[in-house]
């Protein structure tokens, strides 16, 4: 991990108010792993003060991509950065997904912006594994399928794909899932991850989940991002350093 200034080459609005930043940084792209994140200082001023953590969305050659929506002042500044301006980046951070394992099909499960880390995972895995993507959202604007493969959609309002949540969609496909050797990679809202955890435990599916938590530093010194472990009640793992990816069995969601 290190701090580097890298130029923004493009800012795209890919869905309604979902932004994609293209950044040139061979120093970072040569070492980033799927599921890792970067902590970005959006302003030199004292407000916003802290860096903002973003998972790496995709890596293509010397460029990487960040996906985000405007949540507050920090992301608002980021979405309106001038093209060519340099971004102050600290990273790469966190452990990333463990892509190893005895499986032939990777099942991606994401809700809303939880889709952010999966284009890079898809790019890394598609030549050696089958990939099925189950992507959920409140409505069609909320379903992000950018650079994903074999997508099945679910929306709460039925505006696109299956009407219902993404875990219900998984249950509807249980025979298909059971017919393959699968490993699930998931990211999304807490409510989704809770039902997904039950689903994985019931069916004995191996699942890696990318978690999130408010944090300051992103590399372990502030101790700001604990997550409850299922095995060790004496100590909190940190989302930034021990995660952000955990086996879904190992953490309380």
């Amino acid at each position: 991990m290190f701090i580097i200034n890298s130029p923004i080459e493009e800012i795209l609005e890919i869905n309604k108010s979902i932004y994609l930043l293209k950044i040139y940084s061979p120093e970072l792209t040569s070492i980033i792993k799927p599921g890792q994140f970067l902590n970005i200082r959006v302003s030199e001023k004292v407000y916003p003060l802290l860096r903002r953590p973003f998972s790496v969305c995709d890596v293509d050659g010397d460029h990487f991509y960040l996906m985000f929506n405007i949540m507050g002042e920090g992301t608002n500044i980021l979405a309106h950065k001038p093209i060519g301006s340099e971004l102050d980046i600290l990273g790469p951070l966190g452990n990333g997904f463990n892509l190893e394992g005895n499986y032939d099909t990777a099942i991606i499960v994401a809700g809303g912006l939880g889709a952010a880390p999966f284009p890079y995972l898809t790019r890394t895995l598609y030549k050696r594994k089958n990939i099925l993507s189950f992507i959920g959202g409140r409505n069609k604007d909320d379903v992000i399928t950018y650079n994903l493969k074999n997508v099945k959609e679910a929306t709460d309002d039925g505006s696109i794909g299956y009407k219902g949540n993404v875990v219900q969609l998984l249950e509807n496909n249980i025979e298909l899932l059971k017919s393959k050797k699968i490993k699930i990679f998931a990211c999304g809202p807490t409510a989704m991850l809770r039902v997904l955890k039950d689903f994985c435990l019931t069916n004995d599916f191996d699942c890696e989940v990318s978690t999130e938590c408010a944090m300051a530093c992103g590399f372990g010194i502030c101790q700001g991002c604990p997550i409850e472990s299922t095995s060790n009640k004496e100590k909190y793992p940190l989302v930034c350093k021990d995660g952000p990816v955990f086996n879904i069995k190992d953490v309380v969601i």
Partner: protein, 305 residues
Amino acid sequence: MNKVDLSVQIGSLTLRNPIMLASGTVGYGNEISEFTDLNKLGGIVTKSLSLKPRKGNPPQRIVETPAGMLNAIGLANVGVEDFLKEKIPFLKQFDVPLICNIAASSVEEYVECTRILTEEETINAFEINVSCPNVSEGGLLFGNDLKSVATITDKVKAVTNKPTIIKLSPNVSYIASFAKVAKENGADAVSAINTLVGTLFNINTRKPKIHNVTGGLSGPAIKPVALAKVLEISREVDIPIIGIGGIMDWKDVIEFMIVGSSAVQIGTLNFIDPSAPGKIVKQLKEYCEKTSVEKISSLTASYIL
């Protein structure tokens, strides 16, 4: 001009420059050493240690505020035993004064921690945290009570010959009286300020934004408060002061020294730019060269009122 002398004195402890890293913002040194050369700094202060490991508070522990942040970590730490076994071997490799911060729930625990840690030669000094706002036992209860601060200082000093710094709370009406009591009971220095108690609420859920309800406010938002507290101590009590509170650059360091600090600690800035402390040391040297300050320690309490 002659070589600039950046060294400062905290009691019997000599620091090669006034830049220290504040407790709770550098862990036990390993992560931040990837960004800043610890050997170039004046000193590092460990995360607060207690006798036994502490799990700390559940999430959410941190929230950003205008020009600052609130934290309620709850003194999560590895405990004295694991610190000596697992963290000291790493810290040994550095040639930088190591100050152990101790936080406890009772007078006895402060004494016991100090008694054990003082045997470790890598540890150069102690900083006694009598002012953590984020734990239910001890913490601020001690920091708000002159008698407790007196007793803790006296009893800790009875078991160690190493310089002992009392970290003072700003959440009191008159901080100088606490510095005075610390001095009278043998403290070698005080550090000021710890965080200010604050909170934020979500207007939709009507719930606090951090799990502990209140947290400690840090960052540039608190700098003017910290400067005023340092000045107050400086004018009332003859004791070395380590200034802390929202330092973001070398100019803030100079400002803290002018109002009375002998050294300073950098805290929240480490989260934002962990390479900043090393850069600030360099900039202080440049400032001294440019303004013909031969000894940086001459800036301490050089205010003109």
